[in-house]
């Protein structure tokens, strides 16, 4: 045994160990809770709002994702959007609307998320100035994906990641893929994990 041991009693070290277990265990538990706590759920209209300036497709479904241009968790949502589109034979019209609250400058348009979205094949990117579209579609959380069918009826509302900032399969993605493949999913909603878009609240609810 080394002669360098310092005089800490067994009791002192035992207490330190207990505190450590509690602190680290609590920290990891808190991290898991944070990662799996969804944002506010969307309450979109059952049919495509006429007032929307986003043009829906009439020959296929339309998927619109609302995203905060600076939300790091949405990086995973955009990655999963690309994965989702690669999995379906008949991809929908896809629009990613970056929500730009009033008073934000051009630097909000020049973000890596914006560039990532533009790089996904088949995706149109629009700027939602003043959160107008987000308000119309009652979407509160970045990463919210809404799927409307060719007739303009809401088919799905929710997120496509399993937890905050985490890439990989998710229930939301599976449901979206099922719908786009002509199957009925088990549910038409899923949790959304992302930053608050700061849109005008229509109602507050958690999934």
């Amino acid at each position: 045994m080394s002669a360098r041991c310092l005089p800490w009693s067994r009791l002192g070290l035992g207490l330190a160990a207990v505190l450590w277990v509690l602190g680290v265990g609590g920290g990891f538990a808190g991290m898991i809770v944070y990662k799996t706590t969804p944002g506010l759920a969307a309450a979109p209209p059952a049919t495509w709002p006429d007032a929307s300036r986003i043009e829906p497709a009439h020959d296929r479904s339309t998927l619109v994702m609302f995203a905060h241009p600076k939300c790091t968790c949405t990086r995973a949502s955009l990655h999963e959007l690309g994965e989702l589109l690669a999995r379906v034979d008949k991809p929908p019209r896809v629009v990613v609307a970056f929500v730009l609250p009033d008073g934000t400058g051009d630097d909000w348009r020049d973000t890596d998320l914006w560039q990532s979205a533009e790089a996904i094949p088949g995706v149109s990117v629009v700027a939602d100035r003043g959160s107008r579209e987000a308000n119309l579609f009652a979407s509160r959380t970045s990463g919210t994906a809404l799927l409307y069918d060719a007739a303009g009826r809401l088919a799905f509302a929710g997120g496509i990641t399993s937890m905050r900032g985490h890439e990989g399969d998710s229930a939301g993605q599976e449901r979206m893929v099922a719908l786009l493949s002509g199957h009925a999913p088990d549910r038409a909603t899923s949790s959304v994990f992302g930053c608050d878009l700061g849109a005008e609240p229509k109602e507050k609810s958690h999934e």
Binding site: R4, W20, Y34, T72, G168, C195
Partner: protein
């Protein structure tokens, strides 16, 4: 020299050699503890830098706040390394210290994986950590580290399978695929540790034989026992 005297002399020589070997191994453990002190501290700072680079802010509309990842990297990361660093400072070279260091190192792996959103590349840190822990030349430490990986997989696999396997409904045998690679590495590392110890024991025994020869040639009784 009578047989009794010879046996006593032999015991004394071997005891001195064992004490020398134990001292060498203890010095190895203390040096590895110091290495991990720097490594753990460095990884803590790296985690903070990672969080500040990848996810510095959370947003609510246009209002920014410090992202939870920054707090996690700073506070949880700091908590993880605290006990290992305390033990390295006050109980260097001890078996308990090595095991707590192993716990801390694997928990840092888990934290970094979560900070990077489960990125596949960050999982390499697990394997690198196991290799570093082999520096202790103590196979039991590798078992402790492996148990942390197993526990992490079991718990998260039960409650959040997507976070572990990347798919929502993994096959029941999926954990075996992960286990195989970990066990593969552990087997090699354990063999390496045992082989190194065996080689050093061999070196020590060569020295012992020479000491015995010198002792006989000097024709002196041993001055002390163990």
């Amino acid at each position: 020299m009578s047989k009794v005297q010879t046996d006593r002399t032999a015991d004394a020589i071997v005891a001195r050699a064992n004490a020398r070997f134990d001292k060498w191994l203890d010095e190895r453990h203390v040096a590895t503890d110091r290495f991990f002190a720097w490594l753990l501290a460095g990884q803590w700072l790296f985690g903070i830098a990672l969080a500040l680079t990848i996810s510095p802010h959370a947003w609510s509309g246009k209002v920014e706040s410090i992202h939870a990842h920054v707090w996690l990297a700073t506070l949880l990361g700091g908590a993880i390394i605290s006990l290992p660093l305390l033990l390295i400072a006050v109980r260097p070279g001890r078996g308990m210290t090595r095991h707590v260091v192993a716990l801390g190192q694997m928990l840092i792996s888990a934290l970094l994986i979560h900070l990077t959103g489960g990125r596949i590349e960050t999982h390499f840190h697990v394997f690198v950590s196991l290799a570093f822990l082999a520096f202790y030349l103590d196979w039991r430490v590798l078992v402790t580290a492996t148990l942390v990986v197993v526990a992490d997989h079991l718990l998260l696999g039960l409650f959040l399978p997507e976070s572990v396997y990347g798919v929502a409904n993994p096959e029941w045998w999926r954990f075996l695929e992960h286990a195989f690679w970990v066990l593969f590495l552990i087997s090699v590392l354990v063999y390496g540790c045992a082989s190194t110890i065996k080689t050093w024991v061999g070196f020590a025994q060569e020295v012992v034989m020479l000491e015995a020869l010198a002792e006989r040639q000097l024709d002196t009784a041993p001055s002390e026992g163990a």
